[in-house]
Symmetry: C2
Subunit: 235 residues, 2 copies
DNA sequence: GTCTATACAACGATAGAC
DNA sequence: GTCTATCGTTGTATAGAC
């Protein structure tokens, strides 16, 4: 996993995880290859990317339910009949998007658990890692957040469970730091939930951060510094 | 305005603002009386309440676009033809909900500006007031948050502007406290945005707070205490 | 693999009886 | 004021040519 999460920079993060470019879309293709008719990867990967990106553009602008397959056909340049060689049904498209994102998040936060870092480094890596991930997969996160209630209950529960596991990751690091006498905190669970809320803002409130000209690194640093203040940590 | 915002309790808040019961719905009725055919308040108020509450139940469960007017007819017990005596169109219904909520929020945050409270009391009143309001009007807030992108651009912009004005309210109090030497803060705007994010969680993440058995007062107090820590405030 | 043409259900909205 | 019945439109999905 290269030098992430020891080095909390976007460059190191990108080196460790393939979340962009042709290699990324090839992985996405292989993840639900069974559910589509097209067998040739050459043509499938390119069209899959087109379909997903058009879905993000349309659904994130006016909502997935309001987006029609006629819209999607126009935006991708693929006919309506053609789309069904890739997606099975409209609802399945949303379901696949959520599934792919959750799989990737699972991998990244799994890595954070295994590392033997000290509490402060763990908090820093968790915060920066999540902001990096949201930055790279911005439309995925926003889509899944806003369209979650359109999915079936099982998938909804898995998404909420994932958020709780991320919260737990933070709580564990906070408790470890308290044991070492570095931190002081009365309600670790609530503090963790508040960190998660601030992280999610990076995709929910992009309009605000663009308006205030806040960079990704500045934002992550701000969350981390305020967390240390809330933990009464002294350098 | 009674004893609010000097006394930051839900009881004082409810005494100052009418946000529940028949009196509240009568006000809602009067707010868009012009847009509906029914003239008799007696019958209109009761049905209006039924329609709004059924809309929240259905739309907050599966999305406003996914909710059909046939669903709404079934849930309210009013026929489809009957509904149109109250709502003009489906989209107008969403628009009215957003308009009503924004009007009320405008009034409450307007009151917070006029008060001559010291910085700490202003922050406390802003945080507790917003949590109280979200608590009472929970389905309204959740609906407007999740369905905002379905409204026309003008209404979207007004909603975002309202959020920015609330942020400014917090920023002003923080700057006032810094001038008095009570607070220290490098990025007041970002800190304010993070407070707003945490407040919005009270309607966005009700599932989490129920799971953790967190009370409204406990949550508001937690946000307030952590804010003071972030401001390096010493009692 | 991709297209055109079309099936068929469901939607929002309205007319007119009561 | 409220209902039933129905209109016209648009949605998802598929069949079959190429």
């Amino acid at each position: 996993m290269a030098d992430w999460p020891q080095e909390t920079t976007i460059a190191a993060f990108k080196r460790a995880w393939t979340l962009e470019g042709e290699a990324f879309w090839t992985t996405v293709f292989s993840m639900h290859q069974g559910k589509m008719q097209i067998k040739s990867p050459k043509v499938a990967v390119a069209n899959l990317q087109k379909i997903f990106e058009a879905t993000f553009k349309l659904a994130n602008a006016k909502g997935f339910q309001a987006m029609t397959l006629r819209d999607l056909s126009r935006e991708t340049g693929i006919s309506m009949g053609g789309l069904y060689a890739y997606i099975g049904s409209k609802n399945e498209l949303a379901s696949v998007i959520e599934g792919v994102l959750r799989t990737y998040i699972d991998q990244v936060i799994g890595e954070l658990v295994n590392e033997g870092l000290d509490p402060i480094a763990r908090l820093r890596a968790s915060i920066f890692g999540e902001v990096f991930m949201i930055q790279i997969l911005n439309p995925w996160y926003y889509f899944c957040y806003m369209e979650l209630k359109g999915l079936d209950r099982e998938q909804q529960e898995q998404a909420l469970d994932l958020e709780l596991r991320f919260d737990s990751l933070l709580v564990d690091a906070i408790l470890a730091g308290m044991k070492q006498g570095q931190f002081s905190c009365e309600k670790p669970k609530l503090l963790a939930a508040s960190i998660t809320a601030q992280l999610q803002q990076w995709h929910l409130k992009q309009w605000k951060f663009k308006l205030q000209e806040v960079s990704m690194e500045e934002y992550a640093e701000h969350i981390f510094e305020n967390l240390l203040l809330c933990l009464s940590y002294r350098r």
